[in-house]
């Protein structure tokens, strides 16, 4: 299911055709229909992207993008909401090209986005709706789910066509009203989503969306209200505090590390952490589940089979989890193990369903393990988990605040790492991960080139929805 983003203007409606990451020294640009013509909003888009000034670089981890739109957008800021959402779905690999097919979803969005991600009202929405009426009719004929996304102020001023499902979005930092609607679409498409949602976190939304689904059936124009701000979790608080004791390390290193980790934890508590910085996505790596299927399937090409076998044989490390299903307690959670893909990334895990998390380094002799938090640029030492007798697992503490996606690297070293080395590593990772779009495999290669030849690096994503 692809998600297509349409941006209405006072002259018509334009759709996002593609988003491409360009080299960092290229100023971000909006082009018309894949041509060499840059649109007049390019400078404004550049500012919308730019780190420190805009939100795109901050939220999507890169500062140079090219967006292609089907029709010109020449002025104003109302394109910002649509472009932000397009970036979001692009980062999830779900952005369509603006040519929806049955089963896809169309987002019709207008609104300006402030630096703090609040969505601001814009003018001319009635006229924009009028210009989009033909589009809405076509989408209705094709039975393509269409969401009208605006802030509350704009929604109260206009009457949306009955076919359009209204979604109120007050902030781009709180996309759950929109994501809930999209989960409804997934539930409508396939009842087998329950298995899928366990892997692709959404149990909170599933409860919410089930309720919404009923409501939507009764009343198509259902405005999904975001939670009041007071009820929303605070962005700045970071709850990743747990398991500070560093057991099993050499006594000389123990003192240093314990001191260091304790200080770090205090810092994490007090410091307002921008949780929106994104780690490079796992890309299209092959996971063990996929590899197993490919090996068995008769119509798999030889090259795919070779790669699948390599994935199965290559890595003995795995992520050990205890996952609960919807409406279950952690007492009923089941153990599941996940091997990394060929880029050394584990399958993203749903924070709302995780009860326990640890990593096993397989055959590798590992004596110290650190979690490198991408949003805080800091290391958290991991301790050996006590629950497993026959194998050595390293416990990964779960954040207290589970409403935000967390991205991290897990680094296992065959020897003890001193605090000075950790500082150097921190600078090294902060610099490289910020400037480069790299996966865990790349980080491991870089570390190997810097003298850490026995370091194992894995990418870990704990998703909030």
């Amino acid at each position: 299911m692809a998600i297509h983003v349409f941006i209405p203007t006072l002259q018509g409606v334009s759709h996002v055709q593609s988003i491409v990451q360009e080299d960092v020294d290229v100023p971000s640009v909006v082009c018309l229909d894949g041509t060499a013509q840059s649109l007049p909003i390019s400078n404004a888009y550049y500012d919308f992207v730019k780190k420190g000034q805009g939100v795109i670089a901050k939220d999507f981890g890169h500062e140079a993008w090219r967006v292609d739109l089907s029709e010109p957008v020449e002025m104003g800021n109302s394109w910002q909401l649509g472009i932000y959402l397009a970036h979001y779905f692009h980062s999830k690999g779900e952005l369509g090209t603006g040519e929806p097919k049955p089963g896809d979803t169309v987002i019709w969005a207008t609104g300006s986005v402030k630096v703090n991600r609040d969505v601001e009202p814009v003018e001319g929405v009635e006229r924009k709706l009028a210009h989009s009426s033909v589009l809405f009719e076509q989408l209705q004929q094709q039975q393509i789910k269409t969401l009208g996304v605006m802030c509350e102020a704009n929604h109260t001023l206009v009457e949306l066509p009955s076919y359009l499902q209204a979604v109120i979005l007050s902030s781009c930092g709180e996309l759950s009203p929109l994501l809930s609607e999209l989960n409804i679409a997934e539930l409508n498409v396939s009842s087998s989503l329950i298995e899928k949602t366990i892997l692709q976190p959404a149990n909170v939304n599933m409860q919410y969306s089930s309720k919404q689904k009923t409501n939507t059936q009764k009343k198509p124009v259902q405005k999904i209200q975001p939670k009041p701000k007071a009820e929303r979790p605070k962005r700045s608080s970071y709850g990743l505090l747990a398991l500070v004791v560093v057991a099993g390390l050499a006594i000389s290193a123990y003192g240093l590390l314990a001191l260091n980790s304790s200080d770090k934890h205090q810092d994490l508590d007090k410091t307002a952490i921008d949780d929106t910085q994104h780690f490079p996505p796992p890309a299209q790596g092959m996971f063990v589940d996929d590899a197993k299927k490919l090996v068995v399937k008769s119509d798999t090409s030889d090259s795919a089979k070779v790669m699948a076998k390599a994935v199965l044989a290559s890595n003995t490390s795995f992520l050990d989890t205890k996952i609960k299903s919807v409406n279950q307690n952690c007492d009923q959670a089941e153990g599941r193990q996940f091997k990394p893909n060929d880029l050394n990334h584990f399958k993203p895990q749903a924070l709302s369903q995780l009860c326990e998390l640890s990593i096993h380094f397989g055959d590798e002799a590992v004596s110290s393990v650190y979690l490198y938090l991408l949003d805080a640029n800091s290391f958290l030492p991991l301790v050996k988990a006590k629950l497993v007798k026959t194998q050595t697992n390293w416990a990964i503490p779960l954040p207290k605040n589970r409403s935000k996606t967390r991205k991290a690297l897990v680094l296992g070293f065959d020897n003890t790492v001193t605090s000075d080395e950790l500082k150097k590593l921190n600078r090294f990772l902060a610099m490289n991960i910020e400037n480069e779009w790299m996966n865990a495999q790349d980080v491991q290669t870089l570390l190997a080139g810097s003298g850490y030849k026995r370091a194992d690096v894995f990418g870990l994503t704990l998703e909030q929805f």
């Binding site: 593609s18 491409v20 360009e22 020294d25 290229v26 640009v29 894949g34 060499a36 292609d68």
Partner: protein
């Protein structure tokens, strides 16, 4: 209504009208007739407009004249030096078949050519101006690329955050010209 027929002698008024008509016709002919082989000259204002990035009725004539009229070319070169933002001399490095990535001007301006990741047939041509070079915030930049035999110009949007860029197609004449190891570049 059919015209009224009059076979008598013409009145003085009619004669005056006829005379005026003849004079107007003759004037029109003088104004519009272009004798064969005579071309409208390229004026200094036409060259100036071309340098400043404006497109006028004389632009085409200027482009032709720049390639075959030494006087026009000399005037063009002289005018280029007036209000010049930056001059990028011929590259000193040995000629390479690779697409050039970066040229540095006499005052530190950078000219970069980056292939688009979204479309391999397109390249970003980026001008980066150092703080020392100040230009009006709303003034478009005009890039002039010259070899001994060819001239091309491109109008860039006003500088934003010290940079301005356009997108070139790989088959654009300017793209080929920029690869020429004899190319001199002026930014207005």
């Amino acid at each position: 209504m059919s015209p009224q027929q009059n076979n008598g002698p013409m009145s003085e008024k009619d004669q005056a009208i006829l005379k005026a008509y003849g004079v107007l016709n003759a004037l029109h002919a003088v104004n519009t007739h272009q004798p064969e082989g005579v071309k409208k000259p390229v004026l200094i204002n036409d060259i100036l407009a071309y340098i400043q990035g404006r497109t006028t009725s004389g632009t085409e004539r200027v482009e032709v004249a720049l390639n075959n009229d030494l006087t026009v070319r000399r005037q063009y070169k002289q005018l280029l030096r007036v209000n010049q933002v930056e001059h990028i001399a011929k590259p000193r490095a040995a000629h390479s078949d690779d697409v050039f990535e970066k040229r540095i001007g006499e005052q530190g301006a950078l000219l970069k050519l980056k292939q688009s990741k979204g479309n391999e047939e397109q390249y970003y041509l980026i001008i980066e101006l150092p703080n020392a070079i100040s230009v009006q915030s709303d003034k478009p930049l005009v890039l002039h690329a010259n070899t001994e035999s060819q001239t091309q110009r491109a109008v860039f949007p006003p500088v934003h955050d010290g940079r301005s860029q356009i997108i070139l197609n790989k088959n654009d004449v300017l793209f080929s010209l920029l690869q020429d190891h004899d190319v001199e570049i002026d930014i207005q």
